[in-house]
Amino acid sequence: MSQALLYDATLCIGCKACEEACATENGLPYDPAVAKLEQTSSTKYTAVLTHSDTFMRKLCMNCEDPTCASVCPVGALEKTALGPVTYDADKCMGCRYCMVACPFGVPKYEWNKLLPRVRKCDMCSKRVAAGKSTACTEICPTGATKFGERDALIREARQRIEQEPGKYVNHIYGLEEVGGTSVLLLSAVPFATFNYPDYHDQALPLLTYRVLARVPDVVVLGSVLLGGIWWITQRRVEVAALEGPTPSVEKKEKEGGTSHDH
């Protein structure tokens, strides 16, 4: 059921209609000056990057197991069953751990506001929930950005590469990167050209979860261990007191050193 986007850079003509549709959908300003900026920001959730005659889109990858959602201490970021990774501004306390953790550098912050929010593409979660496609897909004149079920889009991407192997880099970016993403990319040039990092297929949240999973052990074993040590040290004092104060024992006890009964 999970929905996704497939962006085929070889079909993109760099018209940036997706940028404008995104801005309109999210109530953000858009003019030629904004169009010129080849990076996302707190007021621009998607950007079309240009490298000689090739293009590439930058937007939230809406990861399958999102790092941002795993690190958020208040659960403001959430992976929905439909695919989009949503953000609840009413929960966010502004710790910005999501920005530090995101492997794609997606979340942006409203640094100059007094009540700042994290800003990012959320794959038009409201439209998707209403059964529509994303604004960027709807406007795209060449079909470079396509919306659909993730499994179907993966099949289609594979087909396109198989049919024209010379046209594409033999790689569907987002198929496996950091555990897979809901945005899939096809390109004629290596993805590194557009600063898409070369990630392995393991989802990052596991890295911290492995450690967090030990918290209950630390609490239980720690309590028992510390309580046990306390019991032994107390017992030594009691035994020493009971056996009567021989001068040597008393002196040792007061020093807090080892007592006689070990």
């Binding site: 306390m93 450690v211 967090l212 309590s223």
Partner: protein, 387 residues
């Protein structure tokens, strides 16, 4: 007396200047937002306030749980005279960490959100809970000192009944969040420089917190002896120095091994920005202190131990800043240098801590030992034994 008075004046002027700058910076922070008051950016979202105020602040407060454990669980009663200063440092430290967070959070009015909006998969969530609970534990552990002053005997008796569970809880909470501050960075394997990124970050953060806890106790005992005129418990400081040596040695071995197994040593040997700061951290916090502690003349003298403690504290502060700032710069593609406002607020918080510490020692029984059991005579005996 007159000499003391003259000596104190520049200090007062400096403190006043820091507080004035901090106050103005606070106005800028809360009238113009983070953008106007910091050099943070989308590329570099965490800076001095996280790297120093939070990471270093929590680390510097580690003397509280280590000494509480030593005295009340391991029954090392000889450390009693220095438990209270360590506890006071810890309590003030955590209060200031929480206070500093109010500056760094984009929505400080929502600092309580993690308590009701749960996400157990988040390290930050765990740190938030641990710091909240541990600050409460510290308040309860420190409360008897205040009750004693106010002659409130009944609450003192109540607290005494739960003192052991409180100590155990405090040690566990500290173990968890001291290490978790390192775990925060486990999620950025591709962003944090390999000289610092390691799967053992939580272990390193915890062991270094133990070491710094010892060093801070030596440091504040020495400082208090110098500036507040308290009796210096030299034999105790020597014992702390011995424990410090063990913690530092364990840390050094683990760190060296970890760098070796991850193949990161060549990076340390290649001259550059990161490796220079790496060697500063390793030299100041590990190599030099260990070398000095192996010299009997140094580890037995008050001045020697004081020097070692300063080096260890400074070295591991460099370590925390390297993890939070230096190691994150290359992947971010920007250099981060804190804005004056960030520095002013951080310095004000440090100054507030020092001032509160001095104030507390003047009005509460901090440097006196808890119950007046005989500790002095055996201590003197022990000093001879140590020599």
């Amino acid at each position: 007396m007159t000499i003391d008075w003259r000596r104190l004046r520049p200090g007062h002027v400096l403190t006043a200047a820091i507080f004035a700058a901090g106050l103005y910076a606070t106005v800028l922070r809360f009238s113009g937002g983070l953008g106007a008051s910091t050099n943070l950016s989308d590329q570099f979202p965490w800076g001095l306030w996280i790297g120093f105020d939070v990471l270093c602040g929590v680390m510097l407060a580690a003397g509280g749980f280590t000494l509480m454990a030593a005295v009340h669980i391991f029954n090392a009663k000889r450390f009693r005279p220095i438990v209270r200063p360590a506890l006071l440092t810890a309590f003030l430290g955590y209060l200031l960490v929480v206070f500093a967070l109010l500056f760094d959070l984009g929505r400080p009015d929502r600092i309580w959100h993690p308590l009701i909006m749960w996400n157990p998969r988040s390290v930050m969530f765990e740190v938030g809970w641990c710091v909240t609970l541990y600050t409460t534990v510290l308040a309860l552990e420190f409360a008897p000192v205040v009750f004693e002053r106010l002659r409130l005997e009944r609450p003192q008796r109540w607290l005494h009944m739960v003192s052991l569970p409180l100590v155990i809880l405090g040690v566990i909470l500290s173990t968890l969040h001291q290490s978790s501050l390192g775990s925060l960075y486990l999620i950025v394997p591709d962003k944090l420089h390999p000289l610092w990124y390691s799967p053992f970050l939580p272990v390193f953060f915890f062991i270094s917190a133990l070491a710094v806890g010892m060093a801070m106790t030596i440091f504040e005992s020495s400082m208090s002896a110098r500036h507040l005129g308290h009796h210096l418990e030299l034999p105790l400081l020597r014992d702390l120095g011995r424990i410090l040596t063990v913690f530092l040695a364990v840390y050094a071995v683990l760190r060296v091994q970890d760098l070796y197994h991850r193949g990161a040593w060549p990076l340390a040997l290649r001259w550059g920005y990161e490796s220079a700061l790496f060697w500063l951290e390793m030299g100041m916090g590990l190599a030099l202190p260990l070398l000095l502690l192996f010299l009997p003349r140094v580890r037995q003298s008050a001045n020697g131990l004081y020097l070692v403690s300063v080096l260890v504290v400074a070295g591991f502060m460099t370590n925390r800043l390297n993890v939070a700032v230096t190691g994150m710069e290359a992947s971010a593609g920007v250099r981060y240098i804190p804005k004056w406002t960030e520095v002013a607020i951080t310095l004000s918080i440090v100054a507030a801590g020092v001032w509160a510490f001095a104030l507390a020692t003047r009005h509460l029984r901090i440097f006196q030992e808890e119950p007046p059991e005989a500790v002095r005579p055996p201590l003197a005996a022990q000093a001879h034994a140590a020599d």
